[in-house]
């Protein structure tokens, strides 16, 4: 019983803010002002449908509300997410395999160097970062975000994958080599499928990294049609008062959260696989 209570508390603590914001997003403007913050008596999807009305401003009550190209934003977000996933996973798998399996001299130090970048706050680096982006010709482009998100997710992904490869019995690949596979085939047909859960863990971590960012997106993407959902919010100073935008991010969050829920088990398994030594 005590355990049940504890679990209920943990769940409530974890879910409350999400519940809270969802409740707000379902409110009509009247209820928003006069209702209770904790529940909604007259749920309406007005805020959500509003999002898809197109990008022209129109009056609502006494104020002119800016409207947003929400569908563009959604598509951009999906694009940036997909790009970051592809770049991060490809680079991480190769780097991790090289570090964890081939173990070139000083590989531990390379891995540490990668990890050490985590204590360098990206947030204080945006001036020079911006210069890099401009030099690469990526300003106001999704490529900039893909690049930066990938550098943020990579060290962790490389760490879990290389820890996994480090302890993966060599004999499994060797068996494939003897059975007639080339090293590349052995990697694709044997090593990659085996690391499925670890790859899921790496992918979800990347999703979390991308999903959490807000600042970088709003700094590096200025053109409204190119913005991601998060970046779009950033430029709207009024956004905090606006139920519509809350509905917007909440909507965008649903597929992400759903994907995380589906793969949650694989995520834990993957992390565990990376942590088991000598397995």
């Amino acid at each position: 019983m005590a355990q049940g209570t504890l679990m209920a508390l943990i769940a409530a603590y974890s879910l409350f803010p999400i519940y809270f914001i969802t409740v707000q997003s379902l409110k009509t403007p009247q209820e928003d002002v006069f209702g209770s913050p904790l529940w909604v008596t007259d749920p309406s999807f007005e805020n959500y449908t509003e999002l898809f009305e197109g990008a022209k401003a129109r009056p609502r009550g006494f104020v002119i509300l800016p409207r947003v190209p929400f569908l563009d934003w959604l598509a951009n977000s999906a694009l940036v997410l997909a790009g970051s996933l592809a770049v991060t996973l490809a680079a991480a798998v190769l780097a991790a395999y090289a570090l964890g399996r081939l173990q070139p001299p000083g590989w531990r130090w390379w891995r540490r160097a990668l990890f050490a970048t985590y204590v360098v706050p990206h947030t204080i680096l945006f001036v020079p970062l911006y210069q890099v982006i401009i030099r690469l010709g990526l300003d106001d482009s999704h490529g900039a975000l893909v690049l930066i998100y990938s550098t943020m997710a990579l060290p962790f992904c490389v760490w879990i994958l290389s820890a996994y490869y480090q302890h993966l019995p060599r004999e499994i690949e060797e068996a494939a080599l003897i059975e007639g596979a080339s090293p590349a085939t052995a990697f694709v047909r044997i090593v990659l499928p085996m690391s499925r859960n670890v790859l899921i863990a790496a992918a979800l971590f990347t999703v979390g990294t991308v999903g959490n960012d807000f600042m970088l997106a709003s700094i590096f993407l200025l053109d409204p049609t190119k913005q991601t959902v998060a970046a779009g919010l950033g430029v709207m100073d009024v956004s905090l008062e606006e139920l519509v935008t809350v509905a917007g991010v909440n909507l965008a969050a649903i597929p992400v959260a759903a994907a995380c829920a589906v793969f949650a088990r694989g995520y834990v398994r993957g992390l565990t696989a990376a942590m088991v030594e000598g397995a």
């Binding site: 004999e171 060797e174 068996a175 080599l177 003897i178 059975e179 596979a181 047909r189 085996m194």
Partner: protein, 363 residues
């Protein structure tokens, strides 16, 4: 079907010289076993044959081809590993079929071969399972099955039974032997277990510190070990060793140490005579020490005290000392002796082994 020839084979890692000048001719259809203590270079040798380790110096030929520069997949070999090395994400069927698929065999042929192999090994029921749903013994069978479906020229085994429990190990040992008789494929088998080596090998190669110590049929190694290391390594319980002095008196050669004075058998005297006045190492197999009876003359007996009795059922082991050296005697199960009591033992002097104190070579 092929012979394997290793010529002056060497392997050096950065600090370790793991394999030194190995010369070995594995005949067609032969089952040869590499045995030696852990770290002696057996696996390294085998892995060079497989193509998994670069050859530092020397040459390996499989059949008539020198394979030094061939990648593993072109050597037409199959290998079974100690940890089975099954692909965890594939079913047993796919595990066994993988090599055939890589070689683009037609589907029907793959199916037939996998089923045949599964039948031979009695794993037909397991084909749809994943490796993690199998017991250790079953995994071992799958690993063997994966090796035999391709009908390779040579089988390589690296301690394939070491992860199994004792009973299963004995059972699989017999099955492997039977399988080899049936398939008649050349096999190189690595183990640290001398019993496995003796029971499986047509010939056995004993290695130590990267050197080959002796190559021979099992009974030859047991009866005529070429040096002290082989003598001590082959046989269980191990041969007893004690340093003795050699002297000559009354036309016979005598072997002496504190509490022991034996007359050398006539066929050894010539070889021992040069060591007169020097010390050599005497080796006695446990079964060559027995309880003395009335007819045993003093020149083949000694007195000692039994320190430990190990009744194994089919035999009894007695632990005692000669001079300060520990001795084990293997006696009939009917013998009854008490611990800590004085006892008189006799030695089969015509089955003694002698080794040079320095070179450790057999005399």
């Amino acid at each position: 079907m092929a012979q394997v020839v290793m010529k002056d084979l060497n392997k050096k890692y950065d600090e370790v010289h793991a394999v030194k000048d190995v010369n070995l001719h594995v005949r067609d259809k032969e089952f040869i076993v590499l045995v030696g203590p852990s770290g002696c270079g057996k696996s390294t040798t085998l892995r060079m044959v497989a193509g998994l380790e670069e050859i530092t110096a020397g040459e390996i030929a499989i059949g008539d081809r020198v394979v030094n520069d061939l990648p593993p997949k072109d050597r037409d070999i199959a290998m079974v590993f100690q940890n089975y090395a099954l692909y965890p994400h594939m079913t047993v069927y796919d595990n066994m079929a993988f090599g055939l698929k890589m070689r683009k065999f037609p589907k029907a042929e793959i199916l037939k071969r996998v089923q045949d192999a599964a039948e031979i090994l009695g794993i037909q029921e397991l084909l749809k399972r994943k490796p993690r749903q199998l017991s250790g013994g079953q995994r071992q069978r799958v690993a063997v099955g994966r090796a035999i479906v391709r009908h390779p020229q040579v089988f390589l085994f690296d301690e394939p039974l070491s992860n199994l429990d004792a009973k299963l190990r004995v059972q699989m040992r017999v099955e492997l032997k039977r399988l080899h008789d049936r398939l008649e494929t050349t096999a190189i088998y690595v183990t640290h277990d001398q019993v496995e080596a003796m029971t499986l090998g047509d010939r056995v190669v004993v290695m130590k510190d990267g050197w080959v110590q002796q190559v021979g049929e099992p009974l030859e190694l047991y009866g005529r070990p070429s040096n002290r290391f082989v003598a001590g390594f082959i046989g269980s319980p191990a041969m007893n060793f004690v340093d003795v002095g050699i002297s000559e008196a009354n036309g016979a050669v005598w072997i002496e140490t504190q509490g022991l004075r034996l007359k050398a058998a006539a066929d050894r005297t010539d070889r021992l005579r040069p060591y007169k006045g020097q010390k050599v190492t005497l080796g006695i197999r446990p079964e060559d020490i027995r309880l003395a009876s009335g007819s045993d003359t003093p020149d083949r007996t000694f007195e000692s005290v039994v320190e430990v009795v190990e009744p194994l059922g089919s035999e009894i082991l007695l632990d005692m000392k000669i001079a300060s050296a520990q001795m084990v005697a293997r006696v009939e199960p009917t013998v009854r002796v008490k611990v800590h009591e004085p006892i008189k033992m006799a030695i089969n002097t015509d089955r003694l082994h002698f080794f040079d104190l320095k070179s450790e070579a057999a005399i």
